[in-house]
Symmetry: C2
Subunit: 426 residues, 2 copies
Amino acid sequence: MTGGRALSTLCPRTLGRLRPAGVLCLFGAWPLTPLPPGTPGSVPLENHLVTVCQDAPLPLDSGATLGPVTLAYQTQGVLNAERSNAILVCHALTGDHYITGPHPVTGKPGWWEDLVGPGKLIDTRRYFVVCANVLGGCMGTTGPRSINPDTGQLWGLTFPVITIGDMVRAQARLLDHLGIERLFCAIGGSMGAMQVLQWSVAYPERVQAAVVIAGSWRHSAQNIAFHEVGRQAIMADPDWCGGDYLSHGRVPQRGLAVARMTAHITYLSEPALHRKFGRKLQNPSEGVSYGFEADFQVESYLRHQGASFVKRFDANSYLYITRAMDYFDLAAPHDGVLARAFQKTPTRFCLISFSSDWLFPTAESRAIVRALTAAAANVSFVEVTTDKGHDAFLLDEPAFHETLSGFLEGLAQKAGLAPRVPEARS
Amino acid sequence: MTGGRALSTLCPRTLGRLRPAGVLCLFGAWPLTPLPPGTPGSVPLENHLVTVCQDAPLPLDSGATLGPVTLAYQTQGVLNAERSNAILVCHALTGDHYITGPHPVTGKPGWWEDLVGPGKLIDTRRYFVVCANVLGGCMGTTGPRSINPDTGQLWGLTFPVITIGDMVRAQARLLDHLGIERLFCAIGGSMGAMQVLQWSVAYPERVQAAVVIAGSWRHSAQNIAFHEVGRQAIMADPDWCGGDYLSHGRVPQRGLAVARMTAHITYLSEPALHRKFGRKLQNPSEGVSYGFEADFQVESYLRHQGASFVKRFDANSYLYITRAMDYFDLAAPHDGVLARAFQKTPTRFCLISFSSDWLFPTAESRAIVRALTAAAANVSFVEVTTDKGHDAFLLDEPAFHETLSGFLEGLAQKAGLAPRVPEARS
């Protein structure tokens, strides 16, 4: 598979040491565990991998170190000679590096298929777009379903607990590998926004611009609570086997599905659920069943969300990544004063929130804007009015797209990046 | 145990056929199943029971009939000679008839201990207060953990699916039994509010006043979704045994705890969780554990909520009662026009909502007020500004108490109910 339609024409211009999506570049001798075919959540082996941290293990916030580390990633477009046109896209909790598809497990388009590609908002004829599966993930990057090289066994729950800081540190190694000193822009929504903020704080000189969508500088009590429910649902499933389910040939599908169902509600909004489903019945002519089957369309929808999620996601990865989000707090090292985290930042910020997002509400973006302003940072902020809730950043939301487009366009013009080449008609 | 402090002095005035709380009045030969002592969720046998529907089975909305039906209830105060001072309190999803305690399972005060009693807001020196465990419940009233008299076996999932309408129909039988033709007032929050609305629609002539707190005329898509998650969590627990867990000597504790944890978040509010817990750690001096134990206080709190809930509630009851709430829709029989449900209603309504309640948001109360107004009903409405969320009706919320107190006082004066007798100082 290829990462984008433009690759075939643009690849010849790619610098020699860069491998675009579609080219397996596994440097280490450390493949993903070949799970039995058809195992729910099993990861295809045709990922685009690079092994970093072989000589210098990755230091983790917990104090542990990890190495070597494999990163699965996708690139699109061409890195220009100045290496000044790289955009790092950071994915959300249950996302992965398949911003464009087809996704190897679901066969569906990528999660930002509408935004990324030649001639699109994030124009791969202008930008070199990189997205890597996060540390702790399950789509090729080192995580709890990888092999611990010291033991030859699956990591499982012996995998070290990681943080958003660790994820970003691993991504920095990937950029080193790709020869990208400074990002034109880092962009992400939700947990991706956390990574973008972390990038701007940990590596301010490496981030020219940061687009923080539906994010926060720390995970709220309510969000920790929802994550804890999801973790408890997974760990309550006997098929979880204390985290050792893969060794037992089992998968905690029911627990993971319940976790997903709970989380999925938080990604939407009450008005959107009302508009989409309301109290519509599965079988309007028959009425309710007076039973516990999915009488309402919203029940059927949720069950489907749970069932399809377990086919593409790993339960332990869910535990580790939710934990990383819970631990995220950029203000904590500064006695709760967020502005100090951004002192003298050279980064140009754009924050975008969605009016109906109750998981990462606008108030949290505003608090970041206040802190950035107090740190004399260059910051723009837009609250997009929509009923689509938190997941609006994944959906067709014109006002959001216009904001993002305008910000990038202004930035690119200022940076003197080559204008878009009109698509040839053939 | 007794139902309230005033009972010992007031009981002699109670009409002969009435049994206040504390007196076992089991008319049928149909006790609760004597579960092994200590079984989580087991129901003490000293409930205050009455068996109704022996001769005339209760017709259910599903088309089935049920009888005899046992109702567990608590009363406080004295029914006056005119039988005009009865207040029916309707409890919420996980509540029961122990409005005052100590609760026989938890040993804690009742859920409205602060509001109900002599000299309190709902003054039992003035009113005769009745509260019954709902149909489908697990604290003595007939439900899935009762015995099916036809088979001699536990009902389990063979218990018919019931509705809010069925709950109210059973309560009407209880009032018949108690000799109460017309209620001075029906009061309830959350699912209790649904019952109060149902009372006003099904038996308008029997309800002089209705206090509808944090309620709705129908369960929203988002609320159905949250309930479905809870049900899936229970049914995913292998200890649920297809609903037959009691016969197997098992209890789906983990699934029920996850259901409760999810629901509990929805009863609070983000600001309240932030104020109460924020990101406070269990062991601040030690920092985070880099593990999956409860690092944050909010996690520990939620786990405690789950663990304590399974000791006092039955998993199948949770399925049945959530289903009854999901099915509730007063507008459905009227082509979605809610006002028609209230045509020519003689009832005086008071609606109270809480500004931070996102489970039954103010907008839903407003919609009821609009419908009542369109039906020319007598209606008052107050939105109480609070950060306490949906559960504010169970908490110390002065503005709510003032509203309720003022409404009842005005109503009582108009009805010529005896003024409060000052408590004797001894």
